[in-house]
C-alpha cells in the first residue's frame, strides 16, 4: 500500500513540476533553462508569505501571479526576439536562470529558508498513515492536468496556440495574433513553474538551488512526452513508478538515475517518445 502511495504521490509531484515546462518547451518549443530558477522563485514566494504572516495557502496564488508577471517580462524583453533562433534562446534562458538565481541570493541570502506549511499531519488510507500534504498533491495534479487539457484542446485559445506552433505564417494569415498567443502561453508556463515551486516547498528545502535538482528530470519527461498534457501525465506515471520501484528495491542512488536513463532509452528506441502523432 505504501509503495502504491509512494508511486502515486511521486507521479503527482513530477507532473506538477513539469507542467510549466510542458507549456514552454513541449508546446512552444523554447528550451527554457530558466525553469529551475522559476521553481526556486515559487519556493521564495512561499517564504515571503510566511514572513508577511499570511495564511500559507496564499503562497499558491501569489506564486502563480509572480511567475506570470515575471514570465510576461521575460517573454517581452528576452524571448520574443529569439523564437526564430532556438539555439540562442537556450543560451539566453540559461543565462537568465543564473541571473534570477543571483538576484535571489542578493535579496534573500544563500542560506536555507523556511516557510509555513498549509497542511500538516497524516491521513489514514488503507491502513497506513500517510503524509497528508503528499496525498493532497494527487488531486492537485489531476485537476491541473484536466484544466490544462481543457484549455489546450477545448478552447479557442488552445486551437490558436496549436495553430501558431504548427504554422505561424498560416495562422497569422488567418488573422491570429501570433505574438499575443506566444506571450500568453509563455507567461502561463512561467506561472505554472513558480506555482510548482510553492507547491513542493513544504517537502523540499528553500534555497537558491532548490529548482535546479528538478531541471534535468523535467526536461527528460517533457522530451519523451511530446506536447500533450495527458501524454505528460502518462510519462510521469511510467517513469515515476520506475523511479520509486528502483529506489525501493535497488538503491535510491540508482533511483536518481532512473528517469534520465529511461528517457535516453525511450528516445533511442522510439524518437517520438510517448507522443502518438
Amino acid at each position: 500500500m505504501v509503495l502504491i502511495l509512494d508511486i502515486t504521490t511521486t507521479i503527482a509531484m513530477l507532473f506538477i513540476v513539469t507542467a510549466g515546462l510542458m507549456m514552454i518547451f513541449g508546446i512552444m518549443k523554447i528550451v527554457n533553462f530558466a525553469h529551475g530558477a522559476l521553481l526556486t522563485m515559487g519556493g521564495y514566494a512561499a517564504f515571503v508569505v510566511t514572513q508577511l504572516g499570511w495564511s500559507p495557502w496564499l503562497a499558491w496564488p501569489l506564486a502563480l501571479a509572480t511567475g506570470m508577471i515575471v514570465g510576461a517580462i521575460i517573454e517581452y524583453l528576452i524571448v520574443r526576439p529569439l523564437y526564430k533562433r532556438p539555439l540562442d534562446a537556450i543560451l539566453a534562458t540559461w543565462g537568465l536562470g543564473i541571473v534570477i538565481g543571483q538576484l535571489i541570493i542578493l535579496a534573500f541570502g544563500r542560506d536555507v529558508k523556511f516557510a509555513d506549511v498549509p497542511l500538516t499531519g497524516t491521513w489514514s488510507l488503507g491502513g497506513t498513515d500517510y503524509s497528508a500534504y503528499r496525498l493532497l498533491l494527487i488531486p492537485l495534479a489531476l485537476g491541473l492536468c484536466a484544466l490544462l487539457t481543457a484549455l489546450l484542446n477545448g478552447t479557442r485559445f488552445g486551437v490558436k496556440t496549436r495553430a501558431v506552433i504548427m504554422n505561424e505564417e498560416l495562422a497569422s494569415g488567418l488573422g491570429i495574433h501570433a505574438g499575443r498567443i506566444r506571450f500568453i502561453t509563455f507567461s502561463l508556463g512561467a506561472g505554472l513553474g513558480t506555482l510548482a515551486g510553492a507547491l513542493i516547498s513544504p517537502l523540499s528545502s528553500i534555497d537558491p538551488g532548490m529548482g535546479i535538482t528538478w531541471l534535468v528530470s523535467a526536461f527528460m519527461l517533457v522530451m519523451v512526452s511530446g506536447h500533450s498534457m495527458p501524454s505528460l501525465i502518462a510519462t510521469c506515471a511510467v517513469f515515476g513508478a520506475c523511479q520509486v520501484i528502483v529506489s525501493t528495491y535497488a538503491s535510491p542512488v540508482l533511483g536518481g538515475l532512473t528517469i534520465a536513463v529511461l528517457a535516453a532509452l525511450t528516445l533511442r528506441i522510439r524518437p517520438k517518445g510517448f507522443a502518438h502523432d
Binding site: 505504501v2 511521486t10 542560506d111 503524509s131 538551488g209 532548490m210 535538482t213 525501493t248 538503491s251 542512488v253
Partner: protein, 387 residues
C-alpha cells in the same frame, strides 16, 4: 572638566612614547588566520574573525606572549584549495607569521599543508573534520567522527533502549565516512544496523528511503547528509510522514537547528560547543564577545569557539618553550592545556584533543537543551606515525 584635558593629553603622549619605545624592544608575534571570508564558509567566517580578535585583545591586555604583543594577520582563503594555497603563501612567505590558527574546509587544509611543511610554521587547525589528517607541524582542536558519534549512539542505546538502527546519508565522503564509523560503533556496542541508505548529494526526494524506514521499524535513526538542502528536505519529509522515532543528526549545527524551528524539534545532535554550556568560562566568553562586538555580534558556534581557544593554547606553548622557535613550540603544544569555554583542552592524543562532548536536543523554540555531557571523549589514534 576642561582643565583636565592637558593632563589627559600628556598621559596619552607619554603612553604613546612608551608603546613606541617598547615596540622597538618587543617586536610583535604575528599570528596568521586564513578563513573563508568568501565562498561557502563566508557564513561562519565573521564569527571566526570575531573570536580571533577577542582572543588577541585579551592576550595583549594581559601583557602579550613573553612580553611581546600579538599581531593578527587575517587573509581570505576563499573556502577552497586554490584560495588556501595563495592565503598560506601570503602568510608564510610575505607576512612571515610565527604561527597559523585557522578554521578551514578540508580541501583548503589539505592544500595548505605542503606550504606549512615548507615554511615550518606551527599550525593549529580549529575546524571539526573527518579525521586522520596528519602533519608534523599541525595540531587539531576540533572534533573527529570518533568523538561526535559516540554520545548519540550511547544515549540512544542506554537511555532510550534502542537496538535496531537505520542510517541515512548523502552519497559523498563525509556521509559515507561518518556512517561507516557509526555502523562499526553501533555493532561494537551490541546494536544492529537494519538499514543503510544514501541519496546522491543533490538529491532531495527521500520518498523511498522514508518508506523503508517505516517498513523496517527501527528504534532510532541517524543521518549524515550534506549540510543545507538535503538535510532540510529529509527533516521536512520525515515530519510530513509523521515519523516520530528518535532521530540523531550528525550534520546539523546550532545555528541551522535554530532556523529550522519546528521542523527540527526533538532532533538529537552532538557537539563539543553549544552556546548553552553552563560554565563560568563559557559565560565569560559570551559576555566578553557581547561587550566587544555589541551591535554586530556574530553568534559564536562550534567552528568559532575552538578558534578562540587555539590562541591561548599557542600562548601557553610559547611560554612553556620560552621561545617562538617553531620546533620548540610544536613540541610544547603537545603538553600544554587550557580550560576554555568547552572545558579542558589538551592536544596530546596524537595531535588531536580529548573533548567534553555534549548531547543536545533541539527544542520547539529552536534552543538546544544539553541532555548529557561526556567528559574527555577520546579522538582515538588519529596519527599513529607522528609522535
Amino acid at each position: 572638566m576642561k582643565s583636565t584635558y592637558p593632563l589627559i593629553r600628556i598621559a596619552v603622549l607619554a603612553a604613546t612614547a612608551l608603546v613606541a619605545t617598547q615596540g622597538h624592544a618587543a617586536e610583535p608575534i604575528k599570528i596568521g588566520v586564513a578563513v573563508g571570508l568568501s565562498g561557502a564558509n563566508s557564513v561562519v567566517a565573521p564569527a571566526v574573525v570575531q573570536s580571533s580578535e577577542l582572543a588577541v585583545e585579551q592576550i595583549n591586555a594581559a601583557g602579550g606572549i613573553l612580553g611581546r604583543p600579538v599581531q593578527l594577520e587575517i587573509v581570505d582563503d576563499a573556502s577552497g584549495a586554490i584560495g588556501a594555497q595563495k592565503a598560506f603563501d601570503t602568510l608564510v612567505l610575505e607576512k612571515k607569521v610565527n604561527a597559523i590558527i585557522a578554521m578551514e574546509s578540508s580541501a583548503a587544509r589539505n592544500a595548505a599543508l605542503p606550504v606549512i611543511s615548507r615554511g615550518r610554521v606551527p599550525y593549529i587547525y580549529t575546524s571539526f573534520y573527518e579525521g586522520r589528517s596528519c602533519n608534523k607541524w599541525m595540531y587539531v582542536n576540533g572534533w573527529v567522527p570518533e568523538q561526535q558519534v559516540a554520545p548519540v549512539v550511547d544515549y540512544f542505546s542506554q537511555k532510550l533502549g534502542a537496538k535496531n538502527y537505520f542510517l541515512v546519508g548523502s552519497d559523498y565522503a563525509f556521509g559515507r565516512g561518518m556512517l561507516k564509523f557509526t555502523k562499526a560503533y553501533i555493532e561494537q556496542h551490541g546494536g544492529k544496523v537494519i538499514g543503510e541508505e544514501y541519496l546522491p548529494m543533490d538529491g532531495s526526494d527521500w520518498t523511498a528511503v522514508i518508506s523503508k524506514i517505516r517498513s523496517t521499524q527501527p528504534d532510532a535513526l541517524i543521518s549524515a547528509t550534506a549540510g543545507g538542502a538535503p538535510n532540510v528536505s529529509l527533516a521536512k519529509q520525515l515530519k510530513a510522514a509523521a515519523l516520530t522515532l528518535p532521530y540523531g543528526n550528525l550534520a546539523i549545527d546550532e545555528g541551522t537547528g535554530k532556523t529550522m524551528g519546528d521542523v527540527a524539534t526533538g532532533m538529537y545532535m552532538s557537539a563539543s560547543y553549544l552556546t548553552s554550556i553552563d560554565t563560568p568560562e563559557n559565560k565569560k566568553f559570551l559576555s566578553d564577545l557581547g561587550q566587544k562586538f555589541a551591535g554586530n555580534l556574530s553568534t559564536p558556534n562550534e567552528l568559532s569557539e575552538p578558534q578562540y581557544e587555539a590562541f591561548f593554547l599557542y600562548k601557553a606553548a610559547v611560554e612553556k618553550a620560552n621561545s617562538i622557535d617553531s620546533a620548540a613550540v610544536v613540541e610544547a603544544l603537545n603538553d600544554v592545556s587550557i580550560v576554555g569555554p568547552r572545558g579542558v583542552v589538551q592536544m596530546n592524543a596524537s595531535r588531536h584533543t580529548p573533548l567534553a562532548m555534549r548531547l543536545g536536543q533541539i527544542q520547539s523554540d529552536g534552543s538546544i537543551r544539553i541532555l548529557e555531557t561526556q567528559e574527555g571523549v577520546s579522538p582515538g589514534i588519529q596519527c599513529p606515525n607522528l609522535k
